[in-house]
């Protein structure tokens, strides 16, 4: 029953106490969203907490089965507990997604600028102007996505303490920014295809730009989905 987190939490449990604890942890793990590693760590921590509670009640004279029931009752509804943890996972995940987007944005942008400039023979300033006029929607995407990615970083760390951003809001911002990144990368790849029809064969730089964007687009799509699921599950 349950994943690796439950097994790690129960080695010291008396047989009479196991059914109540196993049922609680199984229900908790089912309701908890997030990656397998994150879930396993949280389930192991709650399992250890339940064990501590059982030991406490046994020290006061309760039989193992009754001690387990008391410990489980102290922790409350496992679905409510999972929802509270989902909020924390949402904030932490949003922070990582925001940092990744803010960090990779300028790098990927520079690779694309160099790609378009190398292909056209224009200076990089003229190339930027050319791209902006050819894909005006990209400006709109950047104006929305960049602030959203920065808001997502406030899901954890010093910014979370100072700005007190709700983790669900941070997760929504991360989801939006990641989805916007998918649109942006797809737009750039489409733009390159359109431009390549009128220019010389694409260079290795263009191939690298497409590779980088395909990788980022794939990761961003998964991140957008993960943040949306965590936000939906959060209390």
């Amino acid at each position: 029953m349950g994943g690796p987190g439950i097994g790690a939490a129960l080695p010291r449990l008396a047989p009479a106490a196991r059914p109540a604890v196993e049922q609680y942890l199984a229900e908790f793990e089912r309701a908890l969203p997030g990656s397998r590693r994150a879930k396993a760590a949280i389930v192991a921590e709650i399992g250890d907490g339940l064990l501590a509670g059982i030991e406490e009640h046994e020290d006061r004279g309760a039989a193992p089965a009754h001690a387990a029931e008391l410990a489980v009752a102290e922790f409350g509804d496992p679905r409510d507990l999972a929802a509270d943890f989902a909020a924390e996972l949402a904030g932490a995940t949003a922070h990582r997604v925001g940092l990744a987007l803010v960090g990779t944005g300028p790098v990927v942008g520079l690779i694309w600028l160099a790609t378009f400039a190398a292909g056209s023979g224009l200076s990089w300033r003229d190339e930027v102007a050319s791209i902006w006029s050819a894909i005006p929607a990209y400006t709109f995407v950047l104006l929305l996505v960049v602030p959203a990615a920065m808001l997502a970083t406030a899901g954890a760390g010093p910014a979370a303490r100072r700005l007190r951003v709700d983790p669900r809001l941070a997760a929504a911002a991360a989801s939006f920014a990641a989805a916007g990144c998918v649109v942006g990368d797809a737009t750039l790849i489409t733009g390159l295809v359109a431009v390549s029809a009128h220019r010389a064969a694409p260079s290795w730089l263009a191939a690298a730009a497409v590779c980088v964007s395909v990788i980022r687009l794939s990761i961003a799509a998964a991140a957008a989905r993960r943040c949306a699921l965590l936000r939906a599950a959060a209390a």
Binding site: G49, A52, E88, G157, P158, A160, R161
Partner: protein
């Protein structure tokens, strides 16, 4: 209570690292049984403090048991000091007003 939970948790960690259940026990015994919080409240709150960088969590293995301990960070100690100062100011003001015994000055 909810608004001061973070401060209480940080105060419980001031003397050294504790795991989640030990934090709950410390609050219960330290308050003479007044604060008997649901254990399920403590763990997500500790994760919230960790997310904000106010506490740091780490796994420790002992007696074949893997347990997560939390300790205050430097930022957490500063935040706890601020929380204490704010609470003392608030509680002093409330006590002053509640202890006036009907001797409130009327506006002219």
């Amino acid at each position: 209570m909810k608004g001061h939970l973070d401060g209480l948790l940080m105060a419980a960690l001031e003397d050294g690292p504790r795991h989640g259940y030990a934090v709950m026990e410390a609050l219960r015994t330290g308050s003479g049984g007044t604060f008997d919080l649901p254990t399920g409240t403590i763990y997500p709150a500790l994760h919230r403090l960790e997310r904000a960088g106010l506490v740091a969590g780490s796994w420790s293995t002992g007696n074949g048991r893997k347990r997560r301990f939390y300790k205050l960070t430097a930022a957490g100690r500063r935040a706890l000091a601020e929380e204490r100062a704010t609470w003392h100011e608030f509680s002093t003001a409330v006590s002053t007003l509640l202890d006036r015994g009907g001797t409130w000055a009327a506006r002219a």
